[in-house]
Amino acid sequence: MKRFFKLFASFSLLFSLFSLYGEGEVIELKVYNWEDYISIDDGSGESVDLIKKFEQHCKEKFNLNVKVKYSTFGTLENMYNELMLTRTAKEDGSYTYAYDLVCPSDYMVQKMILEGMVEKYDYTIEEGKLGYINGYYDNASKFIVDLFKKYGWQDYATGYMWGTMGFVYNPEVITKLPGYTEGDEKHWSFIWKEYAKNLGTIKDSIRDTYALALGYVYSEELATLRKSYESGSLTKAQYADKIVEIFNRADEESVKKVEEALSVLKENIYGFEVDSGKKDMATGKIAINFAWSGDAVYTLDTADEDENGAKLYYAVPEEGSNIWFDGWVMPKGANVPLAQEFLNFLSQPENAKANMDFIGYTSVIAGNEMFENCVDNYGTYVMVECEAPKEGEAAEKAEEKPAEGEEKAEAEGEEEEEEPKPFLDKESGKYYCDKYVGELSEEELNKFKNADGTYNFLYPDYDKDDNVTGMHKEENVTLYKNDLNYFFANKTTDAAEEKTDFTVITDTIGRQCSTQYPTEDIVARCAIMKHFDDEQMLRLNNMWDEVKVSSSGMSMVVPVIIVVLTCLVFAIVAIMKRR
């Protein structure tokens, strides 16, 4: 036994030596984030592993050996519990937490600030030094930064992703239902409608569904407010404050009204969900889904990729809705410079783009590069006639592969990435290029214009690698202008952006483009969710229990219990008699 212990001791000593001197000084950065909320290498070859990239970035720029310890949570409540369980008390009674960076949502950010759980950002770090947090402010949308400033969170939190809440719906199903009138989907009452019976789902989460019901209960008040805002008797700021007030009401009267509304709704919906709604919507089990905009984009994409999938739409109710965001906070005891460097790194447009492409949510990072990404993804591209490739080239190509348009486009694509690749239409013998409608001149655009203002376009067909493989004609297309200047244009420090107009032109409205980037008009009527105190939360939870446990199931259960109880009594009596 003794020998064994000696051996063991020497081994453990060896290991401890390894960890001390083996790799040099390694600094750990403990990041705690939502599940699937950062770009990782998924093996497709297209996604970027941002965590590895950050470690490399630290090594190259600051010669630091950084190891990111990345862990995830599924609900905010789990995250909060985990922080509470792993904290350590200091002598003066305050606590330090086991993580350097956490990514909670709006009301949890507020709760953590109120409870003094988070560190202040250090703005004194200069550019080029580790932890230059202004890298975030250089790139973030002024709209988001102002929002944080308004509520006094800018000292403690920086934004990550943001969006709205609304309905994802399937117009093919809904518009055919008897009783449907156009525009119903733009009101909270949509899901309460009788024709929507067993077709809709709502969130199995108190705060979100409570907001939905508030929108319904106070829809008249909200509509009146909207009218006075539109007529100009309310300023934008006043309107915003009123809306925030309504969507954060938790007094007894409101809760009572919500309870009644939800009890009615419970009988009308298909069910409550938090995650399964995306799949159920895409596969057509349901036709209305109360969803976060990020999930909505995902649902729309999934349905589009599916050959039998429906063309889904997303609408934010006109009465007003909720605007949500996820922000980074540093719990007390965090390694501030390193955490800030991570945020600075995430705020670089190329990394924000990688994140957005991977997650599908909307990044708070603005600017030209992000805008172009949006145009690439959601702008309408059409085929316009263009010049044939240069004589020599064309002849050369023709020799190689006569009349094979696809191959040509591909081969050329390799040579010069930036130039549009001409596509040879075999029937007409003309060359076409795909172009974003926003880049076309008025004159060019007019060629496609009909008398009633709609357009007849030739649309490109793409293969997986975005090469043009063919084209098809669509008539009477309406073009919409999605004005996103409020979000992209006001980069905080970079006022001298060359680009002046940030408007995406698309042929659809209510699809991915306006879901990911809501228009200014939608944002103006969206309120932020505030943190409720214990008393308000208790009131909400009692209401929630009453709603969730409706008495409908009781009719089936009570007789059974009575039968079982009588059986038990009989059995006990029988046993007693035997004795």
Binding site: N81, D204, K285, W544, K548, V549, M556, I561
Partner: protein, 283 residues
């Protein structure tokens, strides 16, 4: 290696440590949490994990004074009882046939019935949902309760078949033969000989199904679309949404007490029924 001889007591130490660490201490913690309440700092009797608390029984009065909670208890136990009864009705013939079958050499047929148990629980539930959707059980949300019931029975059936099978297998054939020789008809033999002898299996099956069905809210959430709320869900809400570990522990304790009472009664029931020798023992 002669020195490595352990007495029976020493061999028991790891198990005792395990039981104390993972059964006794957690149970005591639940009781402690259930009988304490968070109070403002300054007026506390003591602190748990930095939280000022003092003793209180108000958790229980809070729980029972809320109508919704009573309804949840009714729904949960109603669901649990119906599940248990249906499972028994399905499983008993299955176990009986399996135990008597000539084809069940080496327990192959039994394994076929137990097989679903080895497939991931969440996956099984999700698959069940697709199946139920396919046959049109999601046309109306009033089917939610029935769907949940089907899911519960499906998921817990193996737990009922197993103990019944092992008990029926061990029943001595000569009892049934003696009963037949003395002129009892087959059903009479079954009711007054086989059934009482297999009582331990039934009791053990009930104890394996009754409590889990009151708390396995994954099934009710998935198959019932969140329209059926059971006690397990209430406990989850108290712990995760409300951060009120005291109220959560209270519900867990109430559940435990109800289960203990029902187990005690059913145990009593079988004990009294038949004191004869030769009763097949479980396992």
């Amino acid at each position: 290696m002669n020195g490595l001889k352990f007495s029976r007591k020493q061999l028991g130490i790891p198990y005792a440590v395990f039981l104390i660490a993972f059964v006794v201490v957690p149970l005591l913690l639940i009781i402690l949490y259930a009988f304490t309440k968070k109070v403002p700092a300054g007026s506390e009797t003591f602190t748990i994990a930095g939280e000022p608390v003092s003793f209180a029984v108000s958790n229980f009065s809070d729980f029972f004074s809320k109508q919704a909670n009573i309804r949840v208890l009714f729904v949960s136990f109603g669901l649990a009882i119906i599940t248990t009864v249906i499972s028994l009705l399905i499983a008993y013939p299955v176990a009986y046939i399996l135990a008597k079958s000539k084809f069940n050499k080496g327990g192959v047929l039994l394994i076929l019935f137990i097989l679903p148990l080895w497939i991931n629980f969440v996956l099984r539930t999700a698959a069940m949902k697709e199946l139920l959707y396919f046959i049109g059980m999601y046309k109306s949300n009033s089917f939610s309760f029935v769907n949940t019931l089907i899911g519960m029975v499906y998921d817990y059936l193996p737990f009922v078949i197993m103990p019944l099978y092992s008990v029926i297998l061990k029943i001595d054939k000569s009892y049934a033969e003696a009963s037949a020789d003395l002129g009892a008809k087959p059903w009479k033999t079954f009711v007054s000989v086989t059934l009482p002898l297999s009582m331990p299996g039934i009791v053990s099956a009930v104890s394996m199904v009754l409590l889990p069905t009151t708390t396995s809210y994954v099934i009710s959430d998935t198959l019932g679309n969140g329209n059926v709320t059971i006690v397990g869900k209430l406990i989850e809400t108290q712990f995760l949404t409300m951060h009120n570990w005291h109220a959560g522990s209270t519900i867990a304790l109430v559940l435990l007490v109800i289960i203990f009472i029902s187990m005690f009664l059913s145990g009593k029931f079988t004990e009294e029924k038949d004191e004869s020798a030769g009763r097949a023992n479980l396992w």
